[in-house]
Amino acid sequence: MLHRMMTLTAALLSAALLAPAEAVAQDKGAQDKTPATWPSPVPTRGPVAEKDKKPAPKRTINGMWSALRVGNQSGGVQLKPNNGKPENELPYTPYGLQVYRSHKPLEGKDSVDPADNNDPRTKCEPLGFPRYNHYDLGIQVFQDEQKVAMLYNFDNRWRMIWTDGRPLPKVVDGGVEIDGEYREARWMGYSVGRWIDDYTLEVVTVGTMPEDRVWLDNTGRPISDKARITERFRRLDNDTLEWSETIDDPKIYTRPWDTMKLRMTLQDPRIDLMTRYCSPVELDNYNKTFGDAAGAN
């Protein structure tokens, strides 16, 4: 009798211990049965209200980020739009001003008609770094122990930021030097990053393309292969990332200056962004249909 009671008790106890886990598993199973959907293919989340802010996680900027209407900073970089106002004039060297004047942009105060432009973008040349930074159409960031990968929507380009402690390459004529080996200049340069505190990633990039291959922004501002570009990614809270950029290019500008400081909001991680490729065929069709015809005198 006692043995039967003990057996029964053990059985009841086991059942009681197992039941909650099974209930949770069934609950999870019910949730997992909800069909996944395709959300809107563009960033939609704006700044988070103060009351809804959650603490920032440490040492991560994983996610998709967007500042929404900033777009591609078509009027010039965010902090210095190219609108002719004195406070937005840049500290050009004589050579830098000469390069700027050789550019015939589609936008800004010195823009030309479409048929006359010489923006490399209109040949579908890669924008280069840091011009890709100024095209906010949704930036996707993945990171692991060694690196941060930034995926840019425009033309599906990406770059790597190395956070494993490797040194910044030394800038030399035409490229960089790494451990005594000469390496070529690159469209995205060479980026190294370090966490200066638990919420701020500082990134420095050198080894970008020369001024006859890339522009800084859509209004024709130049940037050279001697540039040192510093970015700071500051995680202000769970949903807010402040992304700032400073250019130090002694060949083109007499002093460093700040190009942008964007407040970006964390977007839905399920977004499958609309693509925006630069297709030479589509560009040619546009020029033939509209661009050249509309601007003809």
């Binding site: 209407r69 105060k109 609309m274 490729y277 560009l283 249909t289 015809a293 509309a294």
Partner: protein, 129 residues
């Protein structure tokens, strides 16, 4: 110079933010005009979506206007879709026409047959979908 045969109502909007695209050139007028007609073609493509609208003038002649919008992922948040327009749809378009008098323009806003208005996807005051 206004193209002969096009029925255009000219309206000047005050305090319009400068459009960032092509803003420095004299390609586009800063004055807003209104075109009423029917859709001939809708092209959903980079670098610009293009809407062709046939507009009948006072003399009964049809003029084909080619209107530029921004790229698909820029105008998508404003409510445009690949199938927003089909040939024959009546449409009213507020535009900045090109300064040389040709029937080319960039969009300011589009009002569909059902009365819904879509903005240009760029200006802060562009109507929400």
């Amino acid at each position: 110079m206004i193209v002969v045969g096009v029925a255009v109502a000219v309206a000047v909007l005050t305090a319009v933010p400068v459009h960032g695209h092509h803003s420095g050139s004299t390609l586009f007028s800063e004055k807003t005009s209104t075109l009423k007609g029917s859709v001939a073609k809708w092209v959903w493509s980079n670098p610009h979506c293009l809407l062709t609208v046939d507009v009948k003038g006072d003399d009964g002649q049809l003029v084909s206007w080619l209107i530029e919008l921004q790229a698909p992922n820029t105008i998508y948040p404003a409510g445009y879709r690949i199938n927003t327009f089909k040939p024959g749809d009546p449409v009213t378009v507020a535009v900045h026409a090109v300064s040389n008098g040709r029937p080319y323009a960039r969009v300011v806003s589009v009002t569909l047959a059902d009365g819904k208005t879509l903005g240009d996807g760029v200006r802060a005051d562009t109507p929400a979908p």
